[in-house]
Amino acid sequence: MDRLFNLFSQSIRAVTSFKMRTFFCLLSVALGVASITTIVAATEGAYKKALEIVERFGPDALLIIGGGEEQRAVGQRQKTITLSDVEAIKQTFDSAYLVVPMTSTGDITVSYKNKKYQTRIIGSTSDYSSVWTWPVIQGSDFTEEDVKGLHNVGLIGQHVVNELFADEDPVGKYILVNRIPVEIVGVLTERGTSPTGANLDDRIILPITTVMRKLQNETQYVSVLRVRFYDQKNLYYYVEELRSFLRNRHGIPPEDPDDFTIISPKEIIKFLVALTGSLVAFLGVTGVISLIVAGFVLANLFLLSVQERRQEIGIRRATGAKRKDILMQFLGESVIITTLGGIAGFLVAFAGKELLTLIAEFPIEFSWKAFAVGLFLSWVIGIGFGLQPAKRASDLNPIEAIRG
């Protein structure tokens, strides 16, 4: 143990003495480890984000959107789901505890006093906030009577509150929505942005009947339908049930595609993986390449160093160092340097995190896991690429070495 400690202190001595070698090895290892830890952190961040989104979306929830997948892909939103579909689903699926239709109209001008603002109007039922697990912080939801009676009442998103009501309490105030006076009965909590970057707080929720009749001139079609089930485990079974149920109702022949799209938590994860995948792949390739380059830089600088320090090796051997003492010393030097490089790389990655989140718009989550991976990789490089130079040092014949 004392011997190991002695060797280790000799390694430290050499690391601090050969500053240029230390600096360049450290730098290259740091860059490699920085990109690798960033990947680990990004993957973790994306994963966490995905879980968060699924959690918010509702792991027990499905979203049914009008129009088949192909039509949606080219940007056509077709309304194919009717209020009677909604009623039928409610009647048929006992396993669902919430079935909430929604419709939406964009770019509607709303005003309060002399302030004007364009926002999205959502029509829904009194269950809107519970179906999205989106609590009302001031006031309350509108009621079933409001929906039946086409009342002009609404919930307001935080962003719209900020645009229209500076410091005023919006609850109980009337705003104009397309010149229709609407009483604000509740304020939704802040929700942030959707995975695609849309501001979710930029909206006003009115009874679906009010929106259809008074804004859309519509009697049957809704845009989307959200269904939540008691039994989360069988969600994917319900997806299939709902699909055949709706195909049947819409009279779609077996060879034709769906005229609606069912979005489940799985779809959301798929989407997110596609979004982050390219960045992770890019960083992964650069990270691995820079780590390998770092390894070769280290190996070469160490071979050079062994050559330069032949006399040192010779005198150490002459005064009693065994081969493995020399091996351990040089291996110690490379592991110390790469460990420092790994830590530096982690710090660089940590510092670069802000920049990356800005560009990539997804969270980079640093944890002990990213740190452990970084440290492990620096040891792999330290031992893997330091072994050959250390071996060469220890294999030097003391007589040859001491003659320089």
Binding site: Q311, I315, R317, A318, T319, G320, A321, R323, P398, I402
Partner: protein, 217 residues
């Protein structure tokens, strides 16, 4: 040493550098081995210093047959029984004087206390106690060699092997170094001095010559 032979292979030809060396050195002697380059003296020194093994023959050092030991065993012998003083000093440039003196203690088999105190005493003995924190490049050649002597003594070896210890030094420093070696011999160390310089060899109590791989008294 009995009938020590060393053969090197050069190209496809065997060259016998040591042709049967018989040499008996008693504990406490001060022996010089003189020879010109090519006489085999360096090879002999390497074998005496356990840096190399003979091709054949017997070498007993401090009651132990060492001619067929492994590399690791030879390392231990060097560490415990032999102190080296070389022409080029071979101090570690990045370590202090004190650390250089302590170098052999890094490789001892069993840890012992008081090494640093011992190192300081040795530095005092060679007159460099004030330079303990200096780096070798801040010292003169004679001072560096004195550090090397302190290093050679730190593990209390029975044998001090000096290979042209004054080859890099002027005559005044040479005298200082030789006086230190003489003092050490008087304190009981066996000293073997390898040199081509007759004046330096004269400090020894016994002078031998090596020529073409054979020893002459």
């Amino acid at each position: 040493m009995e009938d020590i032979r060393k053969t090197y292979r050069m190209g496809n030809q065997d060259v016998e550098v040591l042709k049967g060396i018989n040499l008996n050195i008693e504990k406490g002697e001060f022996v010089s081995i003189m020879g010109t380059s090519g006489s085999g003296k360096t090879t002999l020194m390497n074998i005496i210093g356990c840096l190399d093994v003979p091709t054949s023959g017997r070498y007993v050092l401090a009651d132990r047959e060492v001619s067929h030991l492994t590399d690791d065993e030879l390392s231990v012998i060097r560490n415990e029984h032999i102190g080296f003083v070389f022409q080029n000093f071979y101090l570690l440039p990045y370590a202090t004087v004190l650390e250089n003196v302590l170098l052999p203690t890094l490789y001892i088999e069993h840890y012992r206390d008081g090494s640093e105190k011992h190192a300081r005493e040795l530095l005092q003995l060679v007159g460099l106690e004030a330079r303990a924190k200096f780096k070798p490049n801040q010292l003169s050649g004679g001072e560096q060699q004195r550090v090397a002597i302190a290093r050679a003594l730190i593990n209390n070896p029975e044998l001090v092997l000096a290979d042209e210890p004054t080859g890099q030094l002027d005559s005044k420093t040479t005298e200082e170094i030789m006086n230190i070696l003489t003092t050490m011999n008087k304190q009981g160390k066996t000293v073997i001095l390898i040199t081509h310089d007759a004046a330096v060899a004269g400090y020894a109590t016994r002078i031998t010559h090596i020529k073409d791989g054979i020893i002459f008294e």
